[in-house]
């Protein structure tokens, strides 16, 4: 028989926490070795118990879940931590992932899904509640688009928008109040930065990268 997974539950909601612990203790191969009502308390229990896996709420008094996760990561970079929260707030979600959470589960998870998630997390997989997956993907896309946008200057983006409207060099120069030579210089830089060969390709690539 496998050694049971040693769990710690951190949640300030006493009714939820006690119920959850009672539920976890009924699940096979799990053992709850510690509980805490806020992050500060959790750090003390963590040092003493060194659990295999921590279930961590986010919105808690004294020290919230993300601060706690950051502190735990400093004590043990390999510690497995799953956030278990009602928050679908982007700031909490992305904050937890950036702080190094191994997963983000909502409290509306079914008990059998929670169990399989714990097993997956112990196997080294990252897990997300289906409700938050699309938010993570959106955030990644947004951040990629922001990075792409920073490749080009604001003026180059303006020139690209003109190219996308099918404007010629002289028309662009007129619209942006710059010389045709300056327009050509901007276009040459755009082609280099986007690694394309002509204006049409530049517009297609810019559209693909959500620059325009």
């Amino acid at each position: 028989m496998n050694k049971p997974v040693r769990l710690m539950v951190v949640d300030d909601h006493a009714l939820f926490r006690r119920g959850l612990i009672s539920l976890l203790e009924e699940m096979p191969n799990l053992q709850v070795v510690g509980e805490a009502t806020n992050g500060k308390e959790a750090l003390g229990v963590f040092e003493k118990q060194r659990p295999d896996l921590i279930l961590l709420d986010i919105n808690m008094p004294v020290m919230n879940g993300i601060e706690t996760l950051t502190a735990i990561r400093k004590l043990n970079p390999d510690q497995k931590v799953l956030m278990l929260t009602i928050s679908q707030n982007d700031e909490d979600l992305i904050g937890a992932i950036v702080a190094g959470a191994n997963g983000y589960l909502l409290k509306n998870t079914e008990p059998d899904v929670l169990h399989s998630t714990l097993v997956q997390a112990m196997a080294g997989n990252s897990v997300l509640s289906p409700e938050v997956t699309s938010r993570v993907l959106q955030a990644v896309r947004r951040s990629q688009a922001d990075r792409n946008r920073s490749i080009l200057s604001d003026r180059e983006i303006d020139v690209l928008k003109c190219l996308a409207r099918g404007q010629t060099t002289s028309q662009i120069a007129g619209v942006l109040f710059i010389s045709e030579n300056t327009v050509k210089t901007h276009i040459r830089h755009i082609l280099e930065k986007l690694e394309v060969n002509n204006r049409a390709e530049a517009v297609a690539r810019a559209s693909q990268l959500e620059l325009i």
Binding site: D11, L15, F16, G19, L20, L23
Partner: protein, 122 residues
């Protein structure tokens, strides 16, 4: 010596959150053995209405965080009803406060007795 048979109380736990619902069930089912029975665990208003009508519970625990469960509607139920019932309102989003309502129906004589010591332990 006469033994009074204490009736088994009926408990309904209303929550859209399975971990909360099943957690409470696991925690209290054994602890309440012989004293109370969790008779229903509805997950939305329609199921809750049906369970309240069918079981006439002594205790209702309501987690009103989910949009499918309406706190105001529950309070209306509570104030409209006549039978003895306790109701606990819980929000998973607010760990600071749980509200318990205690509804009793008494005869005027019982009410007078009750007023002699309204704060006695049950």
């Amino acid at each position: 010596m006469t033994h009074h048979k204490i009736p088994v109380r009926r408990v309904v736990i209303i929550s859209a959150n399975p971990l909360f619902r099943e957690g409470l069930r696991t925690l209290y089912a054994d602890r309440w053995k012989g004293k109370a029975l969790i008779v229903a665990t509805p997950t939305n208003m329609a199921e809750a209405d049906a369970a309240l009508e069918k079981h006439q519970p002594n205790l209702v625990i309501v987690d009103y965080d989910d949009k499918t469960i309406n706190r105001a509607e529950f309070l209306e139920h509570f104030f409209d009803g006549k039978s003895t019932m306790q109701m606990m309102l819980v929000s998973l989003g607010d760990a600071g406060e749980v509200v318990i309502y205690d509804r009793r129906k008494l005869t005027p004589a019982d009410a007078q007795n009750w007023l002699n010591d309204p704060w006695q332990e049950e």
